[in-house]
C-alpha cells in the first residue's frame, strides 16, 4: 500500500494539473444556479407539503394543528382516493404501451426511404408540439355534441348524436387527446435508429436473418436505452395528467374543477379539488405525497425491470469518465 500511494499521488496531481483542477470551488460555482434552485424551488416546497400533510390546515387559518398521520389514514381508507388512483393507473396502462409502440412503429416507417419523408415526419410530430390547452380545445370541438365532426360522421351512418362530454364517454375523449401526441418520441427514436451501426444489419443479413429477426436482434437491443427512457418519461407524464381532464370539464373558470365528470376524476384532478375547491390543504398535501411515493415506486420498478432488458453498447458506468 505504502509503496503504491506516492505513485497514485503523482498520477492524481498530473491529472489535476492537466485539467486545471483547483478544488471543488469552480464546480460548485457553475452548478450553483441549479443547486440553489433545487433546494429553494423543489426540495423546500416538497418538505413544506410534507409538513402541511401532518396538519389540518384549511389554507386560510393562521394556525395549523398537528394531527399526525390522520390525513394519510383518511386518504388510504377513502374509496374516492382509490377510485381516482385506479383511473390514473388505467390511463397509464392504456396510453403508455400505445404511445411507445406506436411511436417506435412510426419512427421505423419514417426511417424507410419514402416519398415526402421530411414532410411526413413533421406531420407526425405536429400534434406533439401543440400545447395541451389547444389540443384539448381542438378535441372538445371535434367531440362537440351538436357541431362536432365525430357526431357528424356518426350521423352519416344513421347513429344518434352522442353526448361525449358527460358520463363515461368523456374518458374516451381524454384518451384520444393524450394519444394525439403519439409522435412525441419520433424524433428521439429516429436519431437512435440512425445510430444503429449499418454493419450490424449487414452482418445479420449475411447470417440469413429476415427483416423481423434483424429488427428483433439488432435494432431493438441497440435502441432499448432510448425506449426505456421514453417508457419512464411517458409513464410519469401520463400519471401527472391534469390540464386535459380539467379543460374537458363542462364548466368554465373556478367551477370547472368540481364539475369534472367522475370518469375523468384522475388523481391530480382530485388533489387540485381537495386544495382549491374544498380547502382541505392538509389532506390534499397527504394525497400529493402519497402520489409522489407511488410515482417513485413505479419509476424504480420500471428501471429495475428495464435495466435487465436494456442493452448498452457502451457500459454506462464508464461513459463520460474521460470528460
Amino acid at each position: 500500500m505504502s509503496t503504491l500511494s506516492p505513485a497514485r499521488d503523482v498520477r492524481q496531481k498530473s491529472r489535476r494539473g492537466s485539467t486545471g483542477f483547483r478544488g471543488s470551488g469552480t464546480f460548485y460555482a457553475f452548478i450553483s444556479p441549479w443547486l440553489i434552485g433545487t433546494v429553494l424551488l423543489t426540495l423546500f416546497p416538497l418538505g413544506y407539503a410534507l409538513w402541511i400533510s401532518f396538519t389540518n390546515w384549511d389554507g386560510i387559518a393562521p394556525n395549523q394543528n398537528w394531527i399526525g398521520l390522520k390525513n394519510y389514514t383518511d386518504a388510504l381508507s377513502d374509496p374516492r382516493m382509490w377510485a381516482s388512483l385506479q383511473r390514473t393507473g388505467l390511463l397509464a396502462l392504456a396510453i403508455v404501451p400505445i404511445t411507445i409502440c406506436g411511436g417506435l412503429g412510426l419512427a421505423l416507417l419514417l426511417n424507410e426511404k419514402v416519398h415526402w419523408r421530411s414532410g411526413l415526419r413533421m406531420l407526425v410530430y405536429l400534434p406533439a408540439i401543440v400545447p395541451p390547452v389547444a389540443a384539448t380545445l381542438t378535441w372538445k370541438l371535434l367531440f362537440d355534441r351538436d357541431s362536432g365532426a365525430i357526431n357528424g360522421v356518426l350521423a352519416i351512418f344513421g347513429a344518434d348524436a352522442v353526448s361525449w362530454m358527460t358520463g363515461n364517454t368523456v374518458f374516451v375523449v381524454l384518451l384520444v387527446v393524450m394519444l394525439w401526441g403519439i409522435g412525441a418520441g419520433v424524433l428521439i427514436n429516429l436519431a437512435a435508429l440512425q445510430d444503429v451501426p449499418a454493419e450490424l444489419h449487414e452482418a445479420a443479413r449475411l447470417d440469413g436473418a429476415n427483416a423481423f429477426n434483424s429488427f428483433w436482434h439488432v435494432t431493438l437491443p441497440s435502441i432499448s436505452p432510448v425506449l426505456l427512457f421514453q417508457v419512464i418519461t411517458t409513464t410519469i407524464g401520463v400519471l401527472q395528467t391534469f390540464v386535459p381532464a380539467l379543460l374537458l370539464s363542462p364548466a368554465n373558470g373556478p367551477a370547472a374543477i368540481t364539475a369534472v365528470p367522475e370518469a375523468n376524476r384522475i388523481f391530480m384532478v382530485d388533489v387540485y379539488a381537495q386544495y382549491f375547491a374544498y380547502s382541505k390543504y392538509g389532506y390534499a398535501s397527504a394525497m400529493l405525497w402519497l402520489f409522489f411515493l407511488v410515482i417513485l415506486v413505479v419509476t424504480i420498478i420500471t428501471f429495475k425491470i428495464g435495466g435487465r432488458t436494456v442493452f448498452y453498447a457502451v457500459d454506462p458506468s464508464k461513459e463520460g469518465k474521460e470528460g
Binding site: F27, W34, Y48, L120, A134, L247, F292, G320
Partner: protein
C-alpha cells in the same frame, strides 16, 4: 437493403436503368408510405377541423346536419377573436414570460451542464444522481406547494416566479448540455488553461459557441414549455396579467356563459401558430440537438 427487393417496386419508371445498385438503394418503400399517409391524415384532421370551425358562422355551427365546409369562410373571425378579449395584451404577457424564462433557462442550464461535464468537485456523483432524480420528479407535485410558499412571500400575481424558475435551469436541459459537453475533446480547454484563461471565459468563448444546436433546442423547449403551460399562470397570476393559455380557455363565452366556438377556434389557432412557426424554422437544429446530445 435487398430485404426490400421482395416488395413491390414503386420508383418511377423513368429512373436511369444503368445504375442498378444505386437504384435499389433509392427505391422507395411504398407500403410504409401508404401507412404513413393514412396516419398523418388522421393526425392532421383535428387541426383541419379547428381551422374549419374558426371559419364558420354561428349559424353554420348550429346547423343540423352539421356544416362540414363553410361556404364564404369568415376570415373576420380571426379579427373578432382578438377583440372580444384583450388577445394581444395576453399574447404580450405570454411572449414576455416565455422569452425571459427561455433565455434564463438556456443560459443557466448551459452553465450547470458545463459544470457537470467538465469540472470536478466533491460530491459530484451524488449531485448528478439528484439531477437525474429531479428529471423524474413530476413538476405538478412541486408546483402546488411552491404556489403556497410564493403566496406567503407575496410573489403571487407577479412574474418573479418565472424569473426564479428560469435562473434555476431545467434538469432535462442540464442533462442535454452535460451529454453534449462531455463528448467534446479535452484539448479544447487545455490550451486555454495554459494561456491562463478562467473557466467562465472558456465556457463563454469556446464551449457555448460550439453548443449552438443544444442552445436552440433548449430555448425552443423552454419557450414552448412556458407558452403552453396552463397550471402555473392559472395558480399564480390574475385576470389582468395572466397568459394566453389561460385567457383563451375562459375568454370566449357569450353573456349566458356558453362558449363561442368559432371565435374560440380562431383564438386557439392564433395561440398555436407561434409555436408551430418557431418549430418549423428551428426544426433542423432541434433534431440535431437531440442527436448530438446522445439522448439515448
Amino acid at each position: 437493403m435487398t430485404l426490400i427487393g421482395h416488395r413491390p417496386q414503386t420508383e418511377s419508371p423513368t429512373a436511369p436503368p444503368e445504375l442498378p445498385i444505386r437504384q435499389s438503394r433509392e427505391r422507395k418503400n411504398g407500403v410504409a408510405f401508404v401507412i404513413l399517409v393514412v396516419v398523418c391524415a388522421m393526425l392532421f384532421l383535428p387541426v383541419l377541423w379547428l381551422l374549419l370551425t374558426a371559419l364558420k358562422t354561428p349559424q353554420q355551427l348550429a346547423s343540423d346536419p352539421i356544416t362540414w365546409i363553410p361556404t364564404q369562410p369568415q376570415v373576420q373571425n380571426f379579427i373578432d377573436a382578438t377583440i372580444v378579449l384583450p388577445f394581444w395584451a395576453y399574447a404580450a404577457n405570454s411572449l414576455f414570460l416565455s422569452t425571459v424564462t427561455g433565455v434564463l433557462t438556456t443560459v443557466s442550464s448551459a452553465l450547470v451542464g458545463y459544470g457537470f461535464a467538465r469540472l470536478n468537485g466533491k460530491g459530484k456523483k451524488v449531485l448528478f444522481g439528484i439531477l437525474i432524480a429531479m428529471m423524474m420528479t413530476p413538476p405538478i407535485i412541486t408546483l402546488i406547494p411552491t404556489y403556497l410558499l410564493f403566496a406567503k412571500v407575496g410573489l403571487v400575481g407577479t412574474y418573479w416566479p418565472w424569473v426564479l424558475w428560469g435562473m434555476a435551469g431545467a434538469p432535462y436541459l442540464i442533462f442535454l448540455y452535460r451529454q453534449f459537453f462531455a463528448q467534446l475533446p479535452r484539448e479544447l480547454e487545455e490550451a486555454a488553461i495554459l494561456d491562463g484563461c478562467g473557466r467562465l471565459r472558456i465556457f463563454v468563448q469556446i464551449f457555448l459557441p460550439l453548443s449552438k444546436p443544444v442552445v436552440i433546442t433548449a430555448f425552443v423547449l423552454s419557450f414552448n414549455g412556458v407558452w403552453g403551460d396552463f397550471i402555473a399562470p392559472q395558480l399564480l397570476l390574475n385576470q389582468d396579467n395572466t397568459t394566453l393559455a389561460v385567457a383563451i380557455t375562459t375568454g370566449y363565452v357569450n353573456s349566458q356563459g356558453f362558449p363561442i366556438n368559432n371565435l374560440l377556434a380562431a383564438g386557439a389557432v392564433l395561440y398555436v401558430l407561434p409555436v408551430l412557426i418557431m418549430f418549423f424554422f428551428v426544426q433542423r437544429s432541434y433534431v440535431n440537438g437531440f442527436a448530438t446530445s446522445g439522448m439515448k
